[in-house]
């Protein structure tokens, strides 16, 4: 592989990886599978760099590969529960527009997220950290907060909504 080609790939990885991973997550792919599938996307691109049409934005090419790999992944996984439903969900969500739908918006959203987390109360921030940093289930978080798993799930659901609103505000001009 030529140095120029390597450089092009490295630049593509740097600028698009956050977007590709969020795109895969946005298709409803379970979080545990997101990064594995995203890695597959980049390996596929690396193997076939020449196939990317010159007049096409690389992110569109990457998303196309990501979508196909996600579908194939669930088709292959015969033992997975709700396989057919997950396939339908991916197809549906792929056609659904998202608020952060381009590379720049996604990168800005990622940067804005830190500030938005700072705006949460300490208790809510801790709940988010337990969920994402420590990978704890709602049952486990509920024990720490002396509450029910259902209450934790609902709180996390609302916190994600708050974070989404905050990030959207920050991305608006003069936001």
């Amino acid at each position: 592989m030529s140095a120029q080609r390597d450089e092009r790939f490295a630049e593509m990885l740097e600028t698009t990886q956050a977007h590709v991973r969020a795109y895969i997550a946005g298709l409803g792919v379970p979080p545990v599978d997101v990064d594995d599938l995203a890695q597959e996307v980049y390996l596929e691109v690396y193997r076939n760099m020449e196939a990317i049409p010159a007049d096409l934005e690389p992110i569109r090419w990457l998303k196309g590969i990501a979508r196909n790999l996600c579908m194939n992944h669930f088709r292959r996984e015969t033992r997975r529960k709700l396989k057919t439903q997950l396939e339908s969900l991916i197809e549906h969500l792929d056609r659904t527009p998202a608020t952060f739908d381009d590379v720049e918006a996604m990168q800005e959203a990622l940067r804005a997220l830190d500030g938005c987390m700072e705006q949460l109360s300490e208790k809510n921030r801790e709940m988010i950290r337990m969920r994402y940093r420590d990978g704890r289930t709602s049952e486990s978080i509920a024990e720490a907060f002396a509450t029910t798993a259902e209450a934790v799930r609902i709180t996390l659901f609302r916190l994600r909504g708050k974070l989404k609103e905050c990030v959207t505000r920050r991305l608006e001009p003069h936001g």
Partner: protein
């Protein structure tokens, strides 16, 4: 058709915690309501971004891709190595062996000629072996 926040919250935490009936109801609601679909997609994206930002095992994504690429390249090198091994294992073509024997005979006739074969490839090396042996004997 509407779905409860409770169902969406469970879906976000663990897709497989939903029963088939619940998942079908969620799909039907999403297909009937574009705003709900967009809201869920945004929440899934935020969920993905939170994981990217906070989960320690997800921060090294670029390094993980680089490692997979190194593995891929090593795999290619191993495949190329197999080709070389197969080449080594192949018997020398008869014609070359015959030329080798002729050269050996020439050396035996003139042992102090100083002529030697410098092996440049595995094949040449194999063809040269009887010649060198002849020279040593001489």
């Amino acid at each position: 058709m509407s779905v409860s926040d409770g169902l969406l919250a469970r879906f976000l935490e663990d897709r497989e915690s939903l029963s088939e009936t619940e998942f079908d109801a969620l799909l039907a609601a999403l297909k009937a309501d574009a705003a709900l679909s967009k809201a869920l997609k945004d929440l899934l994206v935020i969920d993905g971004l939170c994981a990217q930002t906070l989960a320690p095992d997800r921060r090294g994504f670029k390094a993980q891709v680089a490692q997979r690429l190194r593995d891929l390249e090593r795999g290619r090198a191993l495949e190329a190595g197999d080709v070389v091994k197969r080449f080594h294992a192949r018997p020398a073509p008869r014609r070359l062996a015959r030329w080798g024997a002729l050269a050996a005979a020439a050396c035996a006739v003139s042992p102090r000629s100083g002529w030697s074969v410098q092996p440049s490839s595995p094949l040449d090396e194999r063809a040269a072996r009887p010649i060198v042996r002849q020279q040593r004997r001489a």
